[in-house]
């Protein structure tokens, strides 16, 4: 772990002397990309972060949204990519732990977890299968032990993640507005470290996350302990209710170094801290090891002397460690001692604010001709559809979410496996949350791909009747010092900012993860977008579809096959036109679907995404055990070939299942909003049949498709 030569010079000139070893370690941790966002921070400002519902407070690790009735919702997203790539079980589990403590540090109770997982080609690659299997168990074991439901997420496989893993975890919290921690501190207040002991595990983790993963690093592995985490949650919430917490921060990347410097800097205070007061696991740890250890399940709390006794009683009751490690000063210095000996004494603003970079960017060469369409030989459509239904990216993820407890807490009214899960809140409203990514689209067109992920997450929450009120962005790229990679980062960010501004959806939290490189090169641009939607009254809880119900398609199907599952999985072709979101129709479609749902006119709304219309319709039929015969002549304004009509992944499309008696009313609303729509057909019988010009082009027995779709992922993992 070290600083770059020019950074060392900069540090020397800022403090006017040579740094000590401990100071060097502290600054190296805090100035790492992972903690300082030095490459990205300048640019992140273009995202809109304010809105009527957003509550801002200094030093918050998570976004806070006012959902009315005196209640707030908090949300945050984190990744644990590097640790998960070397130890998937522990890496994924501690990722969950970290994001939960971010939610907790605002003073809210975590009520849901979502996770986005990405691995290499599990059909061919044994290592990818091993990573996948263990990351899923890690999340399941940790989340299930905590009594927090894992309500959704997504899983994707792509060759660009060979020997690597992207493990993204989002969490949602809920609480009373009056209980939010208003971070503040006075001179003489005490700095307390609460939770598990500090050991040598995870030393240098944030630096590790800021380097490419070339050699396997042994020290950066963190061992999860969900039981301590659970005790921390309960102890902190009890201390919160007793108003014992003045300020709070979770210990994540960079350990105490980052928590102390960032807390002090955010509140404009100084902190004097004695490392010999930290409860350690091993007796021979030196000061800088204690300062940068990333041992899990720890929180930093500031309280006053008079409240200490009560806080200690609570910690004793929950049997978690509680050490007074320092005191608040008003000199804006972080002063680290061991007993009476000083090991570091640095101005907090120097430590907490690395010099931000303005890296060069250049449009990548590979993008020049990638959107040119290529003539492909069209294989049998039915076989293609069946192959897609059984492909790892499209097949049912029940093997994954079946391992997660998604009901605990009894809030989950719409459960995983649908477009988006829905949680019941105590103020009578409902919350819908979804995360989406699509590196295949983003590789072909970083800007449009990112907007597409954003819209897809919006579509998913809209399908439950929720209005998007906030977004989380997690931007994952390769080495930012490569101008071509940095260009893709900037394009992604600009696209997201444009959509967020146009739709007035504030960005309430996010994370940037760079240096995601595998031995074969950088990963594809992988932004992951989380959207939080609020339902004032009635969520759309899907009702079983019955014979005679009508299927409507809202939104136009276009010639946009680039990055589609059909091109990539069936044809192994990377290229073609990336789907683009038309902001105007996106908004019209969204508003009309929301109006239709609020008037309780439909049984089900489902979005069209990966695999296109053919997959979306099959999913509806398979989950409802019913067939459907549809005509697809008029779903596009242009003349498209059969496979494009079936498999294009154009955005802004929704499938609405309408009882016959409501059809006229629904169509009236669609016409009023001037929305492109088409009546596809009616449900009934036991096959899905697509026809064009009165000629059947594809038919599929629902029960046969269902067997393939539900079982193939499990069979692949279990090798049967």
């Amino acid at each position: 772990m070290s600083l770059e030569p020019q950074e060392l010079e900069e540090l020397k000139s800022k403090i006017g002397r040579d740094p000590t070893l401990t100071e060097l370690q502290i600054v190296a941790a805090e100035w790492s990309e992972h903690c300082s966002y030095k490459s990205s921070k300048k640019h992140l400002k273009i995202l809109p972060m304010d809105g009527p519902l957003v509550i801002k407070e200094k030093g918050y690790d998570s976004g806070v949204l006012d959902v009315g009735g005196g209640y707030v919702v908090t949300a945050h997203i984190e990744s644990h990519n590097h640790p998960s790539a070397v130890e998937p079980y522990g890496g994924a589990a501690t990722g969950v732990g970290g994001v939960i403590r971010d939610i907790l540090s605002a003073g809210t109770r975590p009520i849901a977890i979502l996770d986005g997982l990405r691995f290499g080609n599990i059909e061919k690659d044994k290592q990818a299968r091993w990573l996948f299997k263990n990351a899923v168990s890690g999340i399941a074991d940790y989340g299930n032990c905590l009594g927090i439901p894992t309500i959704g997420g997504e899983v994707e496989f792509d060759e660009c993640y060979e020997n690597y893993a992207l493990v993204d975890v989002a969490s949602v919290g809920f609480g009373k507005k009056e209980n939010l921690i208003k971070n503040h501190a006075n001179k003489g207040d005490l700095v307390i470290l609460l939770g598990g002991s500090t050991g040598r595990d995870g030393i240098g983790g944030s630096q590790f996350a800021s380097d490419s993963l070339e050699s396997e690093d042994r020290s950066a592995v963190q061992i999860p302990d969900p039981f301590i985490e659970k005790l921390i949650i309960e102890a902190i919430l009890e201390a919160r209710d007793a108003k014992l917490i003045h300020a709070m921060k979770d210990l994540g990347g960079g350990g105490l170094s980052c928590a102390i410097s960032e807390t002090a800097d955010a509140m404009g205070i100084g902190i004097e801290m004695d490392v010999s007061k930290v409860h350690t696991r091993e007796s021979d740890m030196v000061p800088h090891e204690i300062m940068v250890s990333e041992s899990q399940e720890r929180m930093l709390i500031i309280t006053s002397k008079t409240k200490l006794k009560k806080l200690e009683q609570i910690c004793k009751k929950f049997r978690i460690g509680c050490s007074v490690i320092g005191i608040v000063k008003n000199d804006n210095q972080m002063h680290i001692t061991q007993g009476k000996k000083t090991f570091a004494n640095l101005p907090t603003d120097v430590v907490a604010n690395a010099t931000l970079l303005d890296l060069p960017s250049k449009k990548p060469k590979y993008l020049q001709n990638i959107e040119n369409d290529k003539k492909l030989k069209i294989p049998n459509l039915k076989k293609s559809l069946l192959d897609l239904l059984g492909s790892p990216n499209i097949s049912s993820k029940i093997w994954v979410y079946g391992q997660y407890d998604h009901e605990v807490g009894i809030r989950t009214v719409v459960k995983p496996g649908k477009d988006s899960s829905v949680l019941r809140l105590d103020n009578g409203k409902f919350l819908s949350v979804k995360i989406d990514g699509n590196p295949k689209h983003c590789y072909i067109n970083p800007r449009e791909g990112a907007i597409g992920c954003f819209e897809e997450a919006c579509r998913n929450v809209v399908c439950t009747g929720a209005k998007p009120i906030g977004m989380l962005d997690h931007l994952q790229f390769g080495n930012p010092k490569d101008p071509e990679i940095f260009w893709t980062f900037l394009e992604t960010l600009n696209g997201l900012a444009d959509y967020a501004k146009d739709f007035k959806i504030p960005c309430v939290g996010g994370k940037v993860s760079l240096y995601n490189e595998t031995p074969k090169g950088p990963i594809k641009p992988t932004p992951l977008i989380g959207v939080i939607g609020l339902i004032e009254k009635n969520p759309l809880i899907p009702v079983p579809i019955t014979s005679g119900d009508v299927l409507l398609l809202v939104g136009e199907t276009k010639d946009e096959m680039g990055g589609s599952e059909y091109y990539e999985y069936i044809h192994h072709h990377i290229g073609g036109i990336c789907p683009k979101v038309d902001f105007k129709s996106s908004k019209n479609n969204m508003n009309s679907v929301l109006e239709i749902i609020s008037k309780k006119l439909i049984k089900n709304a489902h979005d069209c995404s990966k695999g296109g219309l053919a997959i979306a319709v099959s999913e509806l039929c398979m989950t409802n055990n019913i067939g459907c015969s549809l005509k697809i002549d008029k779903i596009s304004k242009n003349k498209l070939s059969d496979e494009k009509l079936l498999f294009s992944e154009s955005h802004s499309r929704y499938l609405l299942t309408v009882p016959k008696s409501n059809l006229t009313k629904v169509i009236q609303i669609l016409k009023k909003h001037n929305v492109f729509h088409e009546k596809l057909g009616t449900f009934g019988n036991d096959s899905v049949t697509f026809s064009k010009n009165n000629k059947q082009i594809l038919d599929l027995r629902v029960d046969k498709a269902q067997k393939i779709w539900i079982n193939s992922l499990r069979d692949l993992i279990l090798n049967v």
């Binding site: 130890e87 091993w130 050991g199 040598r200 595990d201 302990d225 039981f227 696991r281």
Partner: protein, 86 residues
């Protein structure tokens, strides 16, 4: 060919925390009158019954199986292999 029992002991490396061991120590052992116990570590043991030509080949065979099948993660675990001739 002789018969051997190969014991593979898998435990967390020193310095990596062991929540299960700590819980047994703090919540069971130290709750009694065993104040002189300082540490408990948990692990997993696999017993392979192998027929091989000698002790060393029995050991290396099992070692190879554990490595290839990722029965333990070299990042996290310390592995000790003992061979007993039956």
């Amino acid at each position: 060919m002789s018969n051997y029992e190969v014991h593979v002991i898998i435990e967390n490396k020193p310095g990596i925390s062991d929540p299960e061991g700590e819980t047994i120590l703090n919540d069971l052992v130290l709750k009694g009158n065993e104040k002189d116990i300082a540490k408990i570590k948990t692990g997993k043991m696999l017993k392979f019954s192998v027929s091989a030509k000698d002790k060393n080949s029995a050991k290396s065979r099992v070692e190879k199986i554990c490595d290839e099948l990722r029965i333990y993660n070299p990042m996290v675990s310390k592995v000790t292999i003992n061979v007993i001739e039956l």
